[in-house]
């Protein structure tokens, strides 16, 4: 048997399912092809790791509770130094949390008032406008009553041939089709309501 083994035979060899003449043939072939030996070694290592993971009793549900309790126990075990004098770390922790909340509140307020243009988010009448190109600026004119809503774009340089009509057969729909395929491939993440 000097023929090259097919994928099925190689897979069976890696899984240790061969015996007799087939096994001898594969071993002889593998000895001349060290990449196969490496592949088998990798497969066995991976299999071993998977078995190890499956056999470990990982306390997911209690993991964080356990970590917190250990932390509390360690902190409790540390004797207090000085009656009332607090450390810099303790002082820091006292004002850090309120300061963080204050920063978040200020950031949120600034975000809602943001009117700058180009590659930024605008919030006017609950509609957000984002320009992908920082050179393109957008201004939103809200349409109250019967007036239409208008987004005025500046800095968008249309290419000269962008609007030149072409025959239907010349129309390059590949870009659109590619996006459609991409969308189809992520249907699992599409909205559901």
């Amino acid at each position: 048997m000097n023929t090259q083994p097919d994928e099925t035979l190689i897979t069976q060899w890696i899984d240790g399912e061969l015996s007799g003449e087939e096994l001898a043939h594969m071993e002889a072939y593998a000895s001349k092809n060290p990449e196969l030996l490496a592949l088998r070694a990798q497969s066995h290592a991976l299999s071993s790791d998977l078995k190890q993971l499956a056999s470990d009793d990982i306390p997911y549900a209690d993991f964080f509770t356990t970590q917190v309790m250990r932390k509390v126990e360690r902190e409790s075990a540390v004797p207090a130094v000085g009656p009332e004098k607090s450390s810099f770390r303790e002082s820091l922790s006292r004002w850090l949390l309120p300061a963080a909340f204050a920063m978040m509140a200020v950031s949120f307020y600034l975000g809602t008032q943001l009117q700058t243009t180009g590659n930024s988010v605008k919030t006017v009448n609950n509609a957000e406008v984002y320009t992908a190109d920082s050179r393109v600026e957008a201004r939103l004119v809200s349409g109250e009553g019967d007036s239409p809503t208008v987004i005025v774009l500046t800095g968008w340089e249309s290419e000269s041939d962008a609007l030149d009509l072409v025959e239907h057969s010349e129309f390059d729909a590949s870009a659109i089709a590619a996006r459609h395929r991409r969308v189809d491939s992520v249907l699992g993440a599409s909205l559901s309501f």
Binding site: T131, L153, S158, D164, V166, I176, V183
Partner: protein
């Protein structure tokens, strides 16, 4: 090893199996029309004249007030319940396209959409307007010839 390969094959075939069944996400919840309008101060033979109704709507806003409006093309597409879809009003080498997908359930006279404006493979704009029936969203786009291109996005109907 065999089990892993079988599992992978099964997972890969799931989308195909699922697609065969009726997909409520493909339910059409409305109709959207995207149009390209050439607005200019001088007369042009490009495209065709816009309707009186559209011209009236355009003239209501200062930023869209031009002497002449010509319709270059329009594309009417269904709004699918939970799928992204595209409208291409003018077929060109680098077409201006609009993608749209509902953000939530449609109301009686309005719907919020995730809306993106593209030129060819380049994204220009992303927004999430709530479109009202018969009240278009206009985007004043790039300069072209002696005027500007206006992209009109109008909710035609809801189901």
């Amino acid at each position: 090893m065999k089990q892993i390969v079988t599992l992978i094959c099964l997972l890969l075939s799931l989308p195909v199996i699922a697609e065969d069944k009726a997909d409520p996400g493909k339910e059409e919840v409305g109709q959207l029309e995207v149009s390209l309008i050439y607005a200019s101060s001088s007369e042009s033979a490009r495209g065709e004249a816009v309707s009186v109704e559209i011209e009236k709507k355009l003239r209501k806003t200062d930023s869209l007030d031009f002497a002449h409006y010509r319709l270059l093309g329009s594309d009417e597409q269904g709004i699918l319940r939970s799928y992204l879809f595209w409208a291409t009003p003018v077929k060109s080498k680098k077409p201006i396209m609009v993608s749209f997908q509902p953000v939530g359930a449609a109301q009686s006279t309005s719907i919020q959409l995730d809306l993106e404006l593209w030129q060819g493979t380049k994204k220009i704009l992303k927004t999430d307007p709530t479109l009202q029936l018969k009240k278009p969203l206009y985007i004043l786009g790039p300069a072209w010839l002696d005027g500007r291109i206006i992209i009109s996005v109008e909710l035609l109907s809801l189901k």
